[in-house]
Symmetry: C2
Subunit: 192 residues, 2 copies
């Protein structure tokens, strides 16, 4: 998708400077971009050129001037149209699964160690998400909006929760050698 819609969305919540938009994006997991300057500032310029946002320069003493961006009527309409457009499927890039694909090259202990490290990392991440969910800054204009943001946060916690359960299940299955039962005649000779 286009990061411009994410920026438009944020500006539909609050008028902000590029610097502040960058912070919102960097701190968020939903807005999954790194929030680097290049992208934010260039896209703000593009949005401005197309009349989707307006720019107000605020001069400050002893601090650099800042440009506060606000969404326009056109911008709001563009955002609305995008909100109504067909949802895309989530894109999941799980490098660990690729690692696991070839993990049969490793010993039983090495695989379990790898899985243990993954479990640990997922566990840490899950705890961080749960803390973050409590103290996050979120738009809270209506009860419905609060509900939506709560469900979005829960979505991500639940994803890690499920991943944790899965990795535990995989380890358990390996420990109990669940895979032995379905032996076949093939042996392990291969024509490599």
């Amino acid at each position: 998708m286009d990061i411009q819609y994410a920026i438009l969305g944020i500006l539909s919540w609050q008028s902000l400077s590029g610097y502040d938009i960058k912070k919102v994006i960097s701190d968020s997991d939903v807005f999954y971009w790194s929030g680097n300057n290049n992208q934010i500032y260039n896209n703000l310029i593009a949005l401005h050129k197309n009349g989707l946002v307006t720019q107000e320069i605020i001069y400050q003493e002893s601090l650099p001037a800042k440009k506060i961006y606000s969404i326009t009527e056109t911008g709001q309409q563009a955002l609305r149209n995008w909100l109504l457009s067909n949802p895309d499927l989530p894109e999941i890039h799980n490098d660990f699964l690729i690692q696991l694909s070839w993990a049969d090259l490793l010993s039983a202990d090495e695989i379990d160690d790898l899985l243990a490290r993954y479990e640990e990392e997922i566990g840490v991440q899950l705890k961080m998400k749960q803390i973050q969910n409590v103290r996050q800054v979120a738009p809270s204009r209506t009860a419905r909006e609060r509900y939506l943001w709560r469900m979005i946060a829960e979505n991500m916690s639940a994803a890690y929760q499920r991943e944790l359960e899965w990795v535990r299940q995989v380890r358990e299955g390996l420990r109990q050698e669940k895979f032995i039962e379905e032996r076949n005649e093939d042996g392990n000779g291969n024509n490599n």
Copy 2:
């Protein structure tokens, strides 16, 4: 991560041409790249230059010549080192959650329609994954390897399954106006 490890992994399973590696990657959800020519062929050249794979040219009558790549000892060692390296967290890019972030701009019916379309798409995808899991081509050199690949496939099915449950829960919550209970005094006036 580096797609080169994915390619090395595939070659540790079978010696293949670039064309066939492309097919493996395109058809797979675990190997999440599009599998475009540029990437595959250039990376094979790089792997070859670094001595991680060897190349054997097969001339065919009435079909274009093909280059069969095989993994070398060095390549196998590089793959093994990567397999033992620290797992990365999954990267989830769920554009729908961004859409939902600003969905409070929509009417109740519009939000439900959006969620319904998402539910539909996830449902379709889930069914496709489940069919794919049965008829997929996978390395099957040991019982353990079959187990790992089964668990990887299950991981992805379960991710969609959970997403489906989540979206149904969100819709149900909106229908029952679960968000009303926690009204606050803020009203909906904001300083935009």
